[in-house]
């Protein structure tokens, strides 16, 4: 491979951020267009990679490997397989769309777009890194732009939410760092690929493998998030600016799920099997508890935020059901939830921005003023509750089928059935939310509220097209994900 696609995809947004931040005197208009260019090119490149990806092979593709720090045997090692490529596309797509969503930002736009682009670089880096140190580096870098984006451009208790987010994340990554150091000590290697393919014998001889597994898992569990480590999420989502909520729910949470598959399951297949039941129970708690709490929310964004907790439970369920179908389903769910919740947050942002109201008890009857938004919001809503022909259905169906038939865990049928109940509650809160916002008698105070403008319709269309496209023809993604899951199944031994 002559052309380093992945490096270009990852670092182009950062280059854009540097240009925006350090070239003085750029007008707001130029800054926006620069952001569009520096996010569109990575998106186009990642779609190109998706097109030329060899679906028959489970191997890592588009690999780049350079010696980085010889003293600790760290490499600049990038590569994607069928699990990471969909997430790269997801981030690249959201990265581009959030620039459009942020078009009307006029508070310190230079800093805003610079941080937003830096955020994209770090998340893309996480999905492409095959070296533990590099992975951790990108993982941590993401915290800084996030902190600024929430605490400067957020609403409500933004500074509290921002610092809460940072402390939670750092707390998780502190354990993750201890886990990575232990792995490095036990195997002398930082390469995920090498360790997965046979470093474990060495690890067992030095320290209890389960301890390392849990150290790493805590880091990912904070991010996914897994109950009871989820309490940062509603605050951060609620108080973040719309575009940042989209990235946060859309791509950032997936770092946790991705890390679990890539590191916890691939490197510790035996331990994962051993503790699968505990994690599956946690997953079901996530689903039901998250959904139950969502029912009680009266703030539009907070409601969507809590629904993420519930939906991430399906990801956790799919991962630790440890069957091929369930792992494909979990990855699908990550992609699909990214798009759907991204759209939900974007629509919630529009409703809030246009009506200046976010309290569900005070909203109502907006369908008349917002004929376009009501349709798109409803599409996102029914996708979120898993209606057929949307990507949400394909993903959740695979998770349930995969988990229900999984032979890896005893008693999983019962837990899966309990998990499915979550769908019912989801239907409840989604429909209730749509009804409260859009239906009922039209309210006097909203008479002047306007609908989506052209730009907003453009990005809505992209979101809806992806949701429906993947929903109607899921094989476009499942083929590639299956190729990525096969080697993991090989490691799991079945």
């Amino acid at each position: 491979m002559d052309f380093n696609y992945l490096s270009v995809i990852i670092f182009l947004p950062m280059v854009g951020a540097a240009i925006i931040a350090f070239i003085p005197g750029l007008s707001n208009r130029v800054i926006r267009w620069l952001s569009v260019i520096f996010t569109f090119v990575p998106l186009a490149l990642s779609i190109y990679l998706f097109a030329i990806f060899d679906r028959s092979s489970g191997a890592i593709q588009f690999e780049e490997k350079l010696s980085w720090i010889p003293a600790i045997n760290a490499h600049y090692h990038l590569g994607v397989d069928g699990i990471s490529l969909p997430l790269v596309i997801l981030m690249a797509l959201l990265g581009f769309l959030v620039v459009l969503i942020s078009w009307k930002i006029d508070l310190r736009p230079r800093e805003y777009f610079a941080w937003l682009l830096l955020l994209e670089t770090s998340i893309l880096g996480v999905f492409c890194s095959l070296d533990l140190l590099l992975f951790f580096l990108f993982w941590e870098i993401e915290v800084i732009p996030m902190y600024f984006l929430i605490s400067i451009w957020g609403t409500g208790r933004k500074e509290y939410s921002a610092i809460k987010y940072v402390i939670y994340t750092l707390f998780g990554s502190a354990f993750m760092l201890a886990g990575i150091l232990s792995l490095y000590f036990a195997t002398g290697s930082l390469s995920m690929v090498d360790i997965a393919q046979g470093g474990m014998a060495m690890v067992q001889s030095v320290m209890p493998v389960a301890a390392i597994f849990w150290l790493l898992l805590i880091g990912f569990a904070v991010k996914l998030p897994v109950f009871p480590l989820h309490t940062w999420l509603p605050d951060a989502h609620t108080d973040a600016p719309t575009a940042v909520s989209v990235v946060l729910a859309g791509a950032l949470l997936k770092m946790g799920g991705y890390g679990m598959i890539r590191i916890c399951v691939s490197i510790f297949p035996q331990v994962a099997r051993e503790f699968a039941l505990i994690l599956i129970i946690l997953a079901v708690v996530n689903v039901l508890y998250g959904a139950a709490i969502t029912l009680r929310q009266t703030d539009l964004k907070r409601l969507i935020a809590y629904s993420s907790v519930s939906h991430m439970g399906y990801v956790l369920l799919g991962i630790f059901a440890l069957s091929q179908v369930s792992l494909v389903g979990a990855t699908m769910q990550m992609f699909s939830h990214g798009i759907i919740t991204g759209l939900l947050f974007a629509m919630a942002g529009l409703v809030m921005h246009n009506s200046k109201e976010r309290d569900l008890r005070k909203l109502g009857g907006l369908a008349r003023q917002m004929p376009v938004i009501v349709v798109v919001f409803s599409v996102a809503g029914v996708a979120s509750l898993g209606l057929p022909t949307t990507s949400g259905f394909a993903a959740e169906f695979l998770v349930f089928v995969g988990s229900f038939t999984s032979a890896a865990v005893v008693g999983i049928k019962l837990w899966t059935i309990l998990g499915v109940l979550g769908i019912v509650i989801t239907a409840g809160y989604i429909l209730w939310m749509l009804q409260r916002v859009f239906y009922g008698p039209p309210l006097e105070k909203f008479n002047k509220v306007r609908d989506a403008d052209i730009l907003e319709r453009v990005y809505m269309f992209v979101f809806v097209a992806v949701i429906m496209g993947v929903g109607i023809y899921p094989a476009v993604l499942t083929d590639i994900i299956k190729a990525g899951v096969m080697p993991v199944m090989g490691l799991l031994g079945g």
């Binding site: 980085w68 720090i69 010889p70 003293a71 600790i72 800093e111 140190l133 951790f136 580096l137 941590e140 870098i141 915290v143 800084i144 902190y147 600024f148 605490s151 400067i152 500074e159 921002a162 610092i163 940072v166 402390i167 750092l170 707390f171 502190a174 354990f175 760092l177 201890a178 150091l181 232990s182 490095y184 000590f185 320290m207």
Partner: protein, 487 residues
């Protein structure tokens, strides 16, 4: 035979200090003093670099070692002194008199630190330490206002006590081994049996007293009482200097003494390894927790430096627990010191510029600094992020490197305490960041900064980024330095 050429860096520095004092009498444009000092430091650094890789040599009957370890530290002190002098130019202009003495004292204390890193004999260690300390006592009191004077007096009194404790410890070690040269002490100790040492615990007592004496220099808990007051009262460039150079010198001596003299037998090194592990855990926890409520940025960084000393002692503990051939702890310590020096200097240089304008060190007065001084605020943010230990800054690599050595030697528990401490520290470092980025500026007036200060700030920030992203080269140097112990 006396190889005086091996003393070239030190002699150059001493000569420069004298020249600066004399020049002060005859010239009116005082910035020449800074320029001459920088030139002297550069020449000295040139000599030091030229000696790199020349093997391990010794001077004056093994009193002074010229090995990669010493050269690494000499280079570090020279860079620190140069950055401090660059950052001082604007600050010192406020003094009506004694500018020459200021620069000369900075140079002399750097000379003392260079000797500290090189000495391999108890008495010369003490002399080098006193040369450093006495210069610093004066520098701390340079502002001559009540706070500065109090700081100086406090530093002097506590420093004198620490020196006395150190001397007592040295005397005990000398009494039990009959030697002052580190290599000879090691040989004498290896001739003793465990039972013999336990029967007359004076040797252990001497060792512990020496830890106390040096612990004062590196601001280890419980010998840290002087830190917040002195940091707050001293001229800010000197605070920066104290927080990095003086600490690094203390660690250089500690490492050499404990590795060379008490490194073997294993039961002894395990003892002090655990002692340092406990001191490390206490230092970082207390330092970070007390830093949380601070409202003065210099005080906050004072407590933060106590916590950083805790992280550094993780490296010392690793040295104690590691087998003699394992360089992980030593090289980690050296790399951490280099990255900490650049980071903390960068932070203080930004603070010097800001406090020059504001005449205040209160964190709340940094409100909205990103609008008044975007470059300074960005640089300070980078350095604070590095102090937390987050990428892409040097602090992250340093922590990764030093902790990986610790994990390899069975100190996982200490590493977990340390990483949780990093999370605690994020809270107070980010508070400053928050004030700077989200607060409302108190006025629209821009914050000016001199050219020299900008150069110093650029050097340290670029250093922080380089060490954070491509640390390979400096890690290699640290490894070489860790291997090449003459004694």
């Amino acid at each position: 035979m006396l190889n005086f050429e091996l003393l070239a860096p030190e002699l150059t520095l001493a000569a420069t200090a004298i020249v600066v004092i004399l020049l002060d009498f005859v010239i009116d444009r005082k910035w020449w003093l800074a320029a001459v000092s920088i030139i002297g430091l550069a020449v000295s650094a040139g000599f030091t670099v030229a000696m790199w890789g020349g093997g391990s040599l010794a001077l004056f009957n093994n009193m002074l070692a010229v090995d990669s370890f010493a050269l690494f530290f000499k280079l570090l002190f020279l860079v620190i002194a140069a950055l401090v002098i660059l950052a001082s130019t604007g600050y010192v202009a406020k003094f009506r008199r004694f500018q020459g003495e200021y620069y000369a004292l900075v140079l002399l204390s750097a000379l003392g630190m260079m000797l500290m890193a090189a000495t391999a004999e108890l008495i010369s260690i003490y002399l080098a330490l006193e040369l450093t300390s006495i210069s610093l006592y004066v520098l701390v009191g340079f502002l001559k206002d009540p706070k500065s004077t109090e700081a100086s007096l406090k530093y002097l009194l506590l420093g004198a006590v620490a020196s006395a404790v150190l001397l007592f410890g040295m005397a005990l070690v000398f009494g039990f081994t009959g030697r002052t040269q580190l290599g000879d002490i090691a040989a004498a100790i290896q001739g003793m049996s465990l039972a013999g040492v336990l029967a007359s615990p004076g040797l252990i007592a001497g060792m512990v007293l020496m830890v106390a004496g040096f612990g004062f220099k590196i601001a280890a808990i419980p010998f840290h009482m002087w830190v917040p007051d002195v940091y707050e009262g001293a001229p800010t460039p000197i605070t920066a200097y104290l927080s990095v150079a003086s600490k690094a010198a203390g660690f250089a001596v500690l490492l050499r003494v404990f590795y060379s003299a008490f490194g073997l037998p294993t039961w002894l090194s395990l003892d002090w390894g655990l002692l340092f592990a406990v001191l490390a855990a206490a230092g970082m926890t207390l330092g970070n927790v007390i830093a949380l409520p601070q409202t003065n940025i210099k005080r906050m960084l004072g407590y933060s430096s106590i916590a950083q000393a805790g992280y550094l002692m993780v490296g010392l503990a690793t040295v104690g627990l590691a087998s003699a051939g394992d360089i992980a702890g030593r090289s980690g310590l050296l790399f951490f010191l280099a990255s900490y020096a650049l980071t903390n200097l960068g932070a203080f240089i930004a603070i010097i510029a800001i406090s020059n304008k504001l005449d205040s060190d209160l964190i709340q007065d940094y409100s909205g600094m990103i609008k008044r001084a975007p470059v300074l605020a960005l640089a300070l943010t980078l350095c604070l992020v590095s102090l937390i230990g987050m990428p892409p800054a040097a602090g992250f690599m340093a922590k990764f490197y030093i902790f990986s050595g610790a994990v390899q030697n069975g100190l996982l528990w200490l590493v977990i305490i340390a990483v949780i401490n990093s999370v605690i520290s994020a809270y107070y470092y980010l508070r400053v960041v928050k004030v700077m980025w989200t607060g409302k500026p108190a006025s629209q007036a821009k914050v000016p900064s001199s050219m020299a200060l900008r150069v110093a700030l650029a050097v340290s920030c670029i250093g922080v980024l380089l060490l954070g992203i491509i640390p390979g080269f400096v890690m290699k140097l640290a490894e070489m330095a860790a291997q090449m112990f003459a004694f």
